[in-house]
């Protein structure tokens, strides 16, 4: 049994209670696994991820080279998902494109998590004018739709993987700053932080060793919930032509390529479009399951 005095329901770790912490984690995992939809979502994402990593084993087609003779051919035994306007195999492009679409989304979330958490932690711990300044900056960035900021940044930086990651991260960092700041503010008043301050620990050490580990759980949950949204923003930017350079395949870009042929070769839109939807559904199911597993109120 978890001792309520040692851990709180959101899995906040108190130094020196390793056993309570593992059983807390185990309890969350167990509740997650009991949720059939969440497990389904996990299976979908794991399946897509494994398929795109193992792409060379699953298809012998080259995703970037096609025969013009096969251009815009519908699904057949040679091309199970059909071919695109340059005769490239769509299945192969979806498999290889998954590396880019899923990979970039995970990278974006990781970048915004690290930056957002760092800024949020420092802002909340320092307080005073620095905190005020950071919060006004966040207000400013949240005062207009993130997609417009991402668009402007992507236009400024040009096409490519790094510009895309920067553009998407810049627009999602403010949200992370908000969440980590509010968590830190509540952790900051805990006795163990006060104790560390009393023994004269360096502020950097207090933030990294005492506050950050305890504020991590809500941030990780937030990251999972964000994956679906980030995947959508990445795909949207690609759809608007601000994604990565051709001929590299990416799901949103593939939908954009197929759009011109919607009337005659709609399969060029359906297969990448439905793959995107499947991935978003998977991430959403995982996110919902995780939130339920961590929710104090639905505890049995």
């Amino acid at each position: 049994m978890v001792n309520a005095a040692e851990t709180t329901a959101i899995g906040r770790r108190v130094p020196g209670t390793r056993r309570a912490e593992t059983s807390e984690l185990r309890r969350i995992v167990r509740r997650f696994l009991r949720n059939r939809l969440a497990v389904l979502g996990f299976a979908v994402i794991a399946g897509l991820a494994v398929a795109s990593i193992a792409a060379p084993l699953l298809t012998s087609q080259n995703p970037n080279i096609g025969l013009l003779g096969a251009a815009r051919e519908g699904p057949s035994s040679a091309h199970p998902f059909g071919a695109d306007e340059l005769g490239r195999d769509i299945l192969a492009r979806i498999l290889y494109g998954g590396r880019v679409s899923l990979g970039i989304s995970v990278l974006c979330v990781a970048v915004s998590l690290v930056f957002g958490a760092l800024v949020g932690n420092i802002s909340a711990y320092a307080g005073g004018w620095l905190d005020n300044l950071v919060q006004r900056l966040v207000d400013m960035m949240l005062a207009f739709p993130g997609i417009l900021l991402a668009l402007a940044v992507a236009t400024a930086l040009g096409r490519g993987i790094m510009p895309l990651v920067i553009a998407v991260s810049v627009s999602s960092i403010p949200g992370y700053v908000r969440i980590s700041r509010s968590t830190v503010l509540s952790v900051k008043t805990e006795p163990f932080v006060e104790a560390a301050q009393l023994v004269g620990a360096h502020p950097g050490r207090i933030v990294l060793r005492h506050i950050l580990p305890n504020a991590l759980t809500p941030l990780i949950v937030q990251s999972t919930l964000q994956l679906a949204g980030v995947l959508l923003v990445v795909a949207s930017l690609s759809f608007l032509g601000l994604g990565i350079n051709p001929p590299t395949a990416e799901w949103g870009g593939m939908v954009a390529d197929g759009r011109a042929y919607l009337a005659t070769s709609a399969h060029m839109v359906w297969f990448p479009g439905f793959t995107l939807a499947l991935a978003v559904l998977g991430f959403n199911l995982i996110g919902d399951g995780l939130r339920d597993a961590l929710d104090v109120r639905s505890a049995r």
Binding site: V255, A266, N284, L285
Partner: protein, 306 residues
């Protein structure tokens, strides 16, 4: 109350100034020489320089910034370098179109989302509830551009019932409105269902049942009234984001709204329009948030604004 509104508006000024500054400098980093593009391929270097000078783009960025803010303080948003129309004029024609699109779509989404959400919460774990949740999960999974293309394919390409794109009339609004409403109603449905389920466990709802009130009264007057705050907050957020975030919908349906205007201006490096457009969006954002906060005290008398 008035004091609260004034305080909020005053606090919004530095935020808006920040938004303008951010957009101003991001746009200056965008590569591409606007004078070069405008002058055309046959222009001489001297002609391009002259054009650059007449646009004031040869001055240091800091000077351009101060000039811009100075004009802005007098209510002058500047002029489009391409159409030569003032930014205010450009926005005056594009903005109402986007407002119509967003308001119509969100009204439909809110009515559908809230009523289905209330119904689902009153019959939890039934077929109806599961069907609603399944439908919501699926419409949330589709990126809006894929959803838009599905609708275009079915209604414009296959059956030819509706135009796929074009200018303003009711027929042209149907597909973009449906695309936005499908997704946003799913969001509203999920939130309404969740907050209603919470409210249904409240003591006041048990009391209402015990008094022998009809299901309609219990649901609408006792449960929904208490579940309304988060729903109103959500609708406010949705409105703000749809106004500016309809970029993709507007570009797919070639709808001449503010999103489309901003995107094409980013591509053409038409700085003044991008700055003005984003500023107006941010002003709306601030006003919507304020309205939402003020509506709290109407919905819930316990909320007081000091």
């Amino acid at each position: 109350m008035t004091g609260y509104i004034v305080k909020r508006l005053v606090l919004a000024v530095p935020v808006l100034l920040g938004v303008v500054t951010l957009v101003f400098f991001v746009m200056r980093v965008v590569p591409g020489d606007i004078a070069r593009n405008l002058a055309g391929d046959n222009a001489t270097v001297a002609q391009v320089d002259q054009l650059r000078h007449s646009l004031g783009l040869d001055k240091p960025v800091a000077v351009q910034y101060v000039t811009y803010i100075g004009k802005l303080a007098r209510g002058d948003l500047g002029r489009s370098v391409y159409s030569r129309r003032s930014v205010a004029q450009e926005l005056r024609s594009a903005f109402p179109r986007t407002v119509v699109l967003a308001v119509v779509a969100l009204s439909i989404a809110t009515v559908i989302g809230v009523s289905l959400g209330v119904l689902a919460a009153s019959r939890p774990q039934t077929m109806f509830d599961y069907a609603g949740m399944g439908f919501a999960a699926i419409s949330l999974a589709f990126p809006n551009f894929v959803l838009a293309l599905v609708l275009v394919y079915v209604f414009a390409v296959k059956f030819g019932w509706l135009p796929a794109s074009g200018k303003m009339d009711v027929k042209h609004l149907i597909l973009p409105v449906t695309t936005i409403a499908l997704r946003e109603s799913a969001v509203t449905f999920r939130l309404t269902r969740a907050t209603m389920l919470d409210a249904m466990h409240g003591d006041y709802v048990r009391t209402a049942w015990a008094k022998g009130l009809s299901e309609r009264l219990v649901l609408m007057r006792h449960a929904l009234r208490n579940a309304l705050l988060p729903i109103v907050t959500l609708v406010g957020l949705q409105l703000g984001f749809t106004l500016g975030g309809a970029v993709i919908i507007e570009s797919i349906f070639a709808y001449p709204g503010v999103g489309n205007l901003i995107v094409s201006s980013i591509n053409q490096r038409d700085y003044a329009i991008v700055q003005g457009g984003v500023l107006v969006l941010a002003v709306f954002f601030v006003l919507i948030n304020l309205t939402v906060d003020l509506s709290y005290s109407l919905i819930d008398p316990r909320v007081k604004h000091g």
